[in-house]
């Protein structure tokens, strides 16, 4: 069963001079239920456009996008999003920031508070619940942003380069944490990144997009037995990373699939 299905999606923007810029053309992709899929590709290939269209932040010019739970679920119950910056609200403490998506939909219950606390515990921030966002490091803030995205147990999680603003060590640490969370929740995740190794480490599948608008993405299945620190130096990991790079740099599709 597909959690997200892009059917022949085209997105065009109006330019200031009155012309039209095509960000995405005839894009097809089926994201399977419980899958972690990454979108990689050169800058400007339309990765973020795909993500924003899935979040219903932009409407496709033509084609359609079907989301699981579209008719029955609302807000972050259906789709949650994490951006490059944590975007925490400075006037709320950590716990209230996590509970923000709940507050948009309904009154916060004791169960919601308990879930938010459990999420904080999961990312190792139990003691930070009453602290102000600016008292936390960048990595801690992004962990809080992930908790906020998970608080309503969404069907689909969208992440737009969520770790690109973090330092290398924090980034690696939080990558493993995200994979652990995914294995525990099996939440369908659509992840946009520029980092090939990040995509290989986290994903079940990688969709490699081309800078040539309208070219179908190349799909690369990732089968790694474990997702720990040790995997980074294995031959299997480096082979996957090489294939994805081949795809990004426009080498033959066969080189990616091989």
């Amino acid at each position: 069963m597909d959690a997200i299905r892009f059917n022949d999606v085209t997105v065009q923007y109006r330019t200031r001079r009155g012309g039209a810029h095509t960000a995405l053309k005839n894009f097809d992709l089926a994201v399977r239920d419980q899958e972690f899929i990454s979108l990689v590709g050169p800058s400007g290939c339309g990765k973020s456009t795909v993500l924003r269209a899935a979040a219903r932040l932009i409407a496709p010019t033509s084609g359609s996008i079907a989301l699981e739970g579209e008719r029955t679920l609302r807000g972050f119950e259906r789709v949650a999003i994490v951006f490059q910056r944590p975007n925490l609200l400075p006037w709320l403490n950590v716990l209230d920031n996590i509970l923000y998506p709940v507050r948009v939909l309904r009154r916060v219950s004791q169960e919601d508070r308990a879930r938010a606390s459990a999420l904080l515990k999961m990312v190792g921030l139990t003691d930070a619940s009453q602290r102000a966002p600016e008292e936390l490091s960048g990595g801690m803030q992004q962990r809080v942003a992930i908790c906020r995205a998970l608080v309503l147990n969404p069907k689909i999680l969208l992440m737009d380069e969520p770790f690109s603003a973090l330092d290398a060590l924090t980034r690696e640490e939080i990558q493993f944490e995200l994979r652990r969370i995914h294995e525990a929740t099996r939440m369908t995740t659509l992840f946009v990144t520029h980092s090939v190794s990040e995509a290989v480490l986290l994903s079940d599948r990688i969709a490699i997009m081309s800078s040539a608008v309208g070219k179908a993405p190349i799909l690369c299945q990732i089968e790694l037995n474990e997702r720990s620190e040790d995997v980074l130096t294995t031959e299997k990991f480096t082979t996957y990373a090489r294939r994805v790079r081949n795809g990004i740099y426009g080498r033959s599709d066969a080189a990616v699939a091989a």
């Binding site: 910056r85 975007n87 400075p90 006037w91």
Partner: protein, 261 residues
Amino acid sequence: MQRLLHRFCKGTGVKRLLPVAAFVLFLLLWQAGTSIFKVPIFILPAPSDILAEFASFGLHMLGHAGATLETILLGFALSILIAIPLGALIASWRLLSDALFPLIVFAHAIPVIALAPIIVVSLGTGLAARVVVVVLISFFPILVSTVTGLRATPADVLDLSRVAGSSHLQRLRMIELPGAIPFVFNGLRIGVSAAVIGAVVGEFVASDRGLGYLVVHSTTNFDIRRAMSAVVLLALISVMLYQSMEWLQKALFPWSLKAEE
């Protein structure tokens, strides 16, 4: 030398005392200057003359200060009540913004001092005319800061809120208005100082009470000492009101001061 002074001031209470010391030095120079050059009191009274005037005429002057303060506070409160909701409407409704903003900018471009006598003709010499002058002069900075603050909400934060399923009103209440607080307080600080000017202008034109009236009345009688005392009292009121905005922001929205930093 500069580096040495900087090192001396750093980490001690000296840095906090510096403005006080500078102010005291200024008063001493003023006092010394008027004594040495024997400046006549009707041209520039010395600080000691002003202090003596406060001692003899202070209670009466406080009555005038109360009248001015009443005009300032009424006008300023009215400005807030008009400017913040109007700012919210303008920021969230593009059509209204396009229609009203040029008109508001034009209204602000009119010198209120020139308009004050006309307002007096229309509304009479009572409190209402003075309050309108205050509103006209203090409303604009609050409005512009509110609109700027509401429009400064990061696009990603708004998008996140949209994905969370928020309505337009929820976004305004839960995201945009709290986010605009540092900007609004900047506007309030400018607005309250402008309100003092507006009250004085109103009292210059039509009043029989207030510090503005006292300045006009005293200078007509060449009582510069009393006029200067009224000006000093006005400056004190202005500083006090400006500072009270800082305190209010610190007490109600402490996070917003950190956001400004």
